[in-house]
Amino acid sequence: MSFFKKLKEKFAGNAEAEESTEKYKEGLAKTRTGFTSKINDLVAKYRKVDEDFFEELEEILLQADVGFETVLELMDDLRFEVQRKNVKDTSNVQSVISEKLVEIYQAGEAEINEINFVEGLTVILMVGVNGVGKTTTIGKLAHRFKNEGKTVMLAAGDTFRAGAIEQLDVWGQRVGVDVIKQSEGSDPAAVMYDAVRSAKSRGVDVLICDTAGRLQNKVNLMNELQKVHRVISREVPGAPHEVLLALDATTGQNAMIQAQTFKEVTDVTGIVLTKLDGTAKGGIVLAIRNKLKIPVKYVGLGEKLDDLQPFDAQKYVYGLFAEGLDKEQQLEDAQTDK
């Protein structure tokens, strides 16, 4: 049985899984037209799996922002795999590729993309550069956790950007959760201190902390972030339980440096890949997963409240290759009809 079919059967019969698979399929529609249709064209163009084929595949991956190093590694692996399985026909390569992608995304660790909830108060710190969608992601996360029956509180730690506190406030009202805030320009560490204190006294389950966007090469701002991190862990031992790095799917190779620097400063535990509903592929997270071993925990597949989905490597790759699957299905059906 083909890899796709296995995936499809896995999702079938489970209403919830099917629904979120649909979300992936929908959200990745634009991404797919760029990426998968290219792979489909490639498969159609080449009958044989040869060097030209690999070269063109390499280019497709590069255009998905995967980055040179990882692409070269991936190509080596694929060449090996193709040889080992003795794949001669290009139409079978697709599933080899997706299998390989899922492998990298999962990297052997099972279910690590779940949020690490603890007994009592769980603190989540949201970090990232400017304009990647931290505040929006917090709004959506709050919505999700609240629906799961948890009590949620937000901390308006972006005291720098004009309108950032108001923005989080609007999200708080929309979702119906409390927002702890001070005035613009106040010390973010002080806001965190307040927030953790009141979260503890009110006995909430999850506190999600917003921070100001900062470019990773600004040393002072990174120090500030470290201080915020320190204040939180002083108030709640073991906190923050999650440090989520928001990455914009349209970002190119700089995302790798972002991930590395933020990891050094705040010990990032997971990535939220935002804005995947555009044409961008966000391929750099593949490289980040490969190099820095930071798992992707959530993906932003649209602007609606529930368009933020827990990352599932299989669903993601399925979303990318959904058309390929349908084609494969048709082919198989046609064969059985005979």
């Binding site: 980055g67 304009g131 004009a162 309108g163 108001e166 929309r174 970002t251 804005k275 555009g278 044409t279």
Partner: protein, 452 residues
């Protein structure tokens, strides 16, 4: 994990083909592979890279290598020149309408930095062009986007036109233009909501705003960190609303910013401004040359090449080499060589500019004592012509005289003489060695040991 710059990448290739008089096709091909790597790592779109590399290869093959440059440096120079030209072209000033008010539209993806740039642009127009701007809050979708613009307006003491989130952005823009007319505000800057370039409904909204009064400028605001997708974004926005220029934001980060090249080559629209910081005055004019260097990751190397071009005389260097080989190298030649080095600027800075130099441990603290060089010069100047050509004749008496004449000590003179002898010996060895291997030797060996 800083990426290697093009100059480092090319180093290996460069040494292989050093000293050739012409750049041949095979050399170019090999070097272009590295150029391709460097550009893709800098996030230049693959298709753009391919076109660019093709164009540069055509230009580079058969080109005479300039006297002062190695073939590798020559190719780097061509790449950089082409890149600069591609991103520069004619510089267009901001278009102001003769019929008041001038309308400027800011468009782009979510999180590119439109609202912040709107504030910065207004500030710049007021300061440099004496305009009276009106900021228009037409982002009714993102929570608190209007408050953000209002806060910025307050910071800058500039009027902000906002009507809440009830009216449509088109209606807000229409009223804003009317408002500007009655208030005699001559420049209207419309901050539109961030949107995906594939969102047809929202793209239509931009077209509707555009139809109100043909904007004098439509700026596409793009995050400098954008990857391969920059071409799709720029193309779609340009096709849908027809942009007139680009503002590149967040360039104060450490991204290479290859998106600039991608956007420029698919839209042919000029990049007018770059965002260089979070403060309201951090909007600067775009410099194609700086951007080219940045994309190639080799700003310093290029200025070094330029310095070498203007100061090192390759013909003289060849003569020098000949002298080394035949052991007729004299103190006069030594002086000559030193003055060439000095022309290039402070030695420690030159050392740091050399590709690969940043990998040498301790070099960041290296301080070359320039006064030591002056002393060496003074000693040589105090020699007679005969002493300079045949230093062997310098005896104790002569040493005393030279030391006195140059204001140094006999020890200084002794040290220089010893180092000069060592240098000659080493040169002889090296030229013997390298000749066997058929390689050319380095420019000024031994010079470093002189200043320790």
């Amino acid at each position: 994990m800083a990426f290697e710059g093009l100059s480092e990448r090319l180093q290996g290739t460069m040494t292989k083909i050093k000293g050739k008089g012409k750049v041949n096709e095979a050399d170019v091909k090999e070097m272009m592979r590295e150029v391709r790597f460097a550009l893709i790592e800098a996030d230049v779109n693959l298709k753009v890279v391919k076109e660019f590399v093709k164009k540069v290869s055509e230009r580079a093959v058969g080109e005479d290598v300039m006297e002062s440059l190695t073939p590798g440096q020559q190719v780097v120079k061509i790449v950089k020149d082409e890149l600069t030209e591609l991103m520069g072209g004619e510089e267009r000033k901001i278009e102001f309408s003769t019929k008041q008010p001038t309308v400027i539209m800011m468009v782009g993806l979510q999180g590119a930095g439109k609202t912040t740039t709107t504030g910065k642009l207004a500030n710049l127009l007021r300061r440099k062009h004496n305009r009276k701007p009106l900021l228009v809050a037409a982002d009714v979708y993102r929570p608190a986007a209007i408050q953000q613009l209002e806060t910025i307006g307050k910071q800058l003491s500039l009027p902000v036109f906002s009507k809440g989130t009830e009216l449509s952005p088109v209606e807000i823009a229409r009223q804003a233009i009317e408002h500007a007319k009655t208030e005699h505000l001559d420049t209207v800057i419309i901050d539109t909501a961030g949107r995906l370039h594939v969102d047809e409904a929202l793209m239509q909204e931009l077209k509707d705003i555009r139809a109100l009064k043909e904007p004098d400028e439509i700026f596409l605001v793009v995050d400098a960190m954008t990857g391969q997708d920059a071409v799709n974004v720029a193309q779609n926005f340009d096709e849908a609303v027809g942009i007139s220029g680009v503002v590149l934001t967040k360039l104060d980060g450490d991204t290479r910013g290859g998106a600039a090249l991608s956007i420029r080559s698919v839209t042919q629209k000029p990049i007018k401004f770059v965002g260089m910081g979070e403060k309201m005055d951090a909007l600067e004019a775009f410099h194609p040359e700086r951007m080219a260097s940045r994309i190639l990751g080799m700003g310093d190397m290029l200025s070094l090449i330029e310095k070498a071009q203007s100061s090192v005389d390759e013909t003289k260097a060849k003569e020098l080499e000949e002298k080394f080989r035949t052991s007729t190298f004299t103190f006069d030649d030594f002086l000559e060589q030193m003055s060439q080095v000095k022309q290039m600027g402070p030695l420690d800075e030159i050392l740091k500019m050399l590709p690969g130099a940043n990998k040498i441990k301790g070099l960041e603290n290296a301080k070359v004592d320039e006064s030591q060089m002056d002393r060496v010069e003074a000693i040589i100047y105090s020699m007679t012509t005969k002493e300079k050509t045949t230093p062997e004749i310098i005896n104790a008496n002569r040493k005393k005289r030279i030391a006195k004449g140059s204001g140094t000590s006999i020890q200084d003179v002794n040290r220089l003489l010893k180092q000069f002898e060592d240098m000659k010996k080493m040169m002889k060895q090296m030229s013997g060695m390298t000749n066997k291997k058929g390689k050319k030797k380095m420019g000024m060996p031994g010079l470093d040991s002189l200043f320790k």
